[in-house]
């Protein structure tokens, strides 16, 4: 997972959107680099959907500017290089999945006919291609929405909750598809999801929004590396704690070593020479969920704690 940092594919400056007295976005500044998978996180009401809707031209900002692929969001030429799926999509119920894609291809100004089977296959809807969408499940709607977003072969794809309503195999397939879009097709994927573990697995960089403002931004690896420790499953535990002194702490049968990465190999050699049996050694960092709760001040519910 490597992100190529170039000219921002999305740039927003001082972006503000108010609904009456509510400031959904409050002077947001954000630059999303070209390439890779970028996650936009935030609790409900943080401004994620508002940001996406402005970027897609569905609503107009109150103040500030937003550019997509270097052009204003009102410029169709730039917008056509972008695909999107906002929340669970809906389609005219009298159309089949194939007809939906054909309709959107025509609206986009592309023939698209020959590509339709490819995209239906890529989202796992080949067998349902000629069924009317009125009988589709939420997960199938979601897959069709993703196909609709991708079929114009965009340079940038915006996905809002792309795995919402999907079963576990579907989530796994979607994660693989998103990664392959970024890694194999060179598409920049910007997604919002409440499933933080999923975001941690699939995204290269994330931005955390809260109350319409950016509160944290960075590469997932860098963010989660803060507070990183070496977890050692060893025996005897006491001997390791003695070697580490103040830098060591017991965690069940294991030991957490508060050391830098470059100190790791030397520590392991020292422990082996001291006759310690090392069953497992791995680096553990702060997960995205912990960062999320810290930055947004959100309350951890029993469900979210259980999910961890």
């Amino acid at each position: 997972m490597t992100a190529v940092i170039e000219t921002p594919v999305i740039q927003v400056s001082g972006l503000t959107k108010t609904y009456g007295t509510v400031r959904a976005l409050d002077g947001l500044d954000l630059a999303i680099p070209r390439g890779g998978v970028y996650g936009v996180l935030g609790p409900n009401g943080a401004g994620k959907s508002t940001l996406f809707r402005i970027l897609l031209g569905l609503i107009r900002s109150t103040e500030g500017s937003a550019t997509v692929m270097g052009g204003a969001v009102s410029e169709v030429g730039h917008m056509r290089r972008m695909g999107s799926m906002i929340e669970t999509p809906r389609f005219p119920p009298y159309m089949t999945a194939r007809q939906v894609l054909r309709w959107l291809a025509l609206e986009h100004g592309i023939g698209g006919e020959t590509d339709i089977p490819h995209w239906l296959q890529r989202v796992g809807l080949t067998e349902a291609a000629d069924r009317r969408v009125r009988g589709f499940s939420v997960g199938m709607m979601q897959r069709l929405g993703v196909a609709a977003a991708l079929m114009s072969r965009p340079d940038l794809v915006i996905l809002d909750e792309p795995t919402s309503g999907m079963d576990p195999p579907g989530i796994q397939e979607m994660r693989a598809l998103i990664r392959s879009l970024a890694d194999d097709d060179g598409v920049t994927v910007v997604l919002a999801s409440h499933q933080l573990l999923e975001v941690q697995r699939v995204c290269d960089r994330v931005a955390i929004l809260n109350k319409g403002k950016l509160v944290r931004e960075g590469a997932v690896g860098e963010l989660t590396a803060v507070g990183e420790r070496l977890r050692l499953a060893v025996s005897p535990q006491a001997k390791v704690l003695e070697v580490l002194g103040a830098k060591g702490a017991a965690e069940g049968d294991a030991v957490l070593a508060d050391i830098r990465r470059e100190e790791g190999p030397a520590l392991i050699r020292a422990l082996a020479e001291a006759g310690v049996d090392i069953h497992e050694a791995r680096w553990v960092g702060t997960d995205l969920e912990a960062i999320f709760f810290t930055e947004t001040g959100s309350v951890q519910t029993p469900e979210t704690i259980h999910a961890r």
Partner: protein, 291 residues
């Protein structure tokens, strides 16, 4: 770009068989069915009605067996009558489906980034114009079929006296009827855009149409004559009647007061352009994330 929007809307409409049936085919089918039944009923009562000296002259002429039936003249009449309230109502069903469909199915978010807002709306307008044209052509086809059935029942010979004058009248009446239907659908477009409601797109033009129809009765007691500026501006239906009379020529045209045609064209133009401009302006700034 506009052509993309037109192709996409036309494609989508072609898959909506229910809307197509009700807006384009239903009225012509019913017209043929009722017309045929009427001819048979008249034929069954032919002797009785012809013997009735008080029966309307037009009815007696229509029933008289033998002679000729001029299809060209029938088509001119049909072209002038095709923008009747029944056709308007059912064309509005198709128009409302197109104008309000993206709010109803929450599909603006799928297409708003694929074309400009202006093109998206003009694409719908062009497709509605196509629906209206198709409905009118099917109504003309129904008129032709009905005439052939009448000719068969009453032993008439069908002739087609396509003179230059008849062709000009046909084109004029047909174009005027088309404009009248489009003018109603523009009100539907404005209503759909402002309210995001399919029912509003259907019923607002109808209610306004009814109010326009009764406007002379309301204005008369106020001393405002039907040919006054205000009366004409309020009632584009009267404007259509005046223009139709001018196209028909003869006594009807000669009876038109001076200056009435200008008022009529301005009234019809305003009722066509203003709703369209209002809908486009409203849509340009509209929040499309709400459905």
């Amino acid at each position: 770009m506009l052509v993309d929007a037109i192709r996409a809307e036309s494609f989508r409409l072609s898959k909506n068989r229910t809307a197509l049936f009700w807006s384009v085919l239903f009225v012509p089918i019913i017209t043929i069915a009722i017309g045929t039944i009427t001819q048979f009923v008249l034929k069954a009562n032919e002797a009785k009605l012809l013997a009735d000296a008080e029966a309307p002259l037009g009815l007696r002429e229509m029933m008289a067996s033998g002679g000729q039936l001029d299809l060209a003249q029938s088509l001119v009449q049909a072209a002038g009558n095709v923008a009747n309230p029944i056709v308007l109502l059912f064309v509005l069903i198709g128009a409302a489906t197109l104008y309000a469909g993206d709010y109803r199915w929450e599909t603006w978010r799928l297409i708003s980034a694929r074309n400009s807002r202006l093109n998206l709306m003009l694409g719908k307008l062009a497709t509605v114009a196509g629906i209206a044209l198709a409905a009118m052509l099917f109504m003309l086809l129904a008129a032709v079929i009905e005439n052939f059935i009448r000719a068969a029942i009453f032993d008439r010979a069908v002739v087609f006296n396509a003179t230059g004058e008849a062709f000009g009248q046909f084109a004029g009446q047909f174009g005027l009827s088309w404009l009248r239907i489009l003018q109603f659908t523009m009100m539907g477009m404005l209503a759909a855009t402002v309210t995001r409601s399919l029912l509003a797109a259907l019923f607002v033009p109808l209610v306004i149409g009814v109010a326009q129809f009764f406007s002379p009765q309301m204005l008369g007691p106020m001393g405002i004559m039907p040919d006054a500026w205000l009366a004409m501006l309020i009632n584009p239906g009267a404007a259509v009647d005046a223009i139709s009379a001018a196209i028909a020529g003869g006594e009807r045209a000669a009876a038109l007061p001076d200056g009435l045609l200008l008022k009529a064209w301005i009234s019809l133009g305003l009722w066509t352009v203003l709703p369209l401009a209002g809908a486009l302006a409203w849509f340009e700034k509209q929040d499309l994330s709400k459905e």
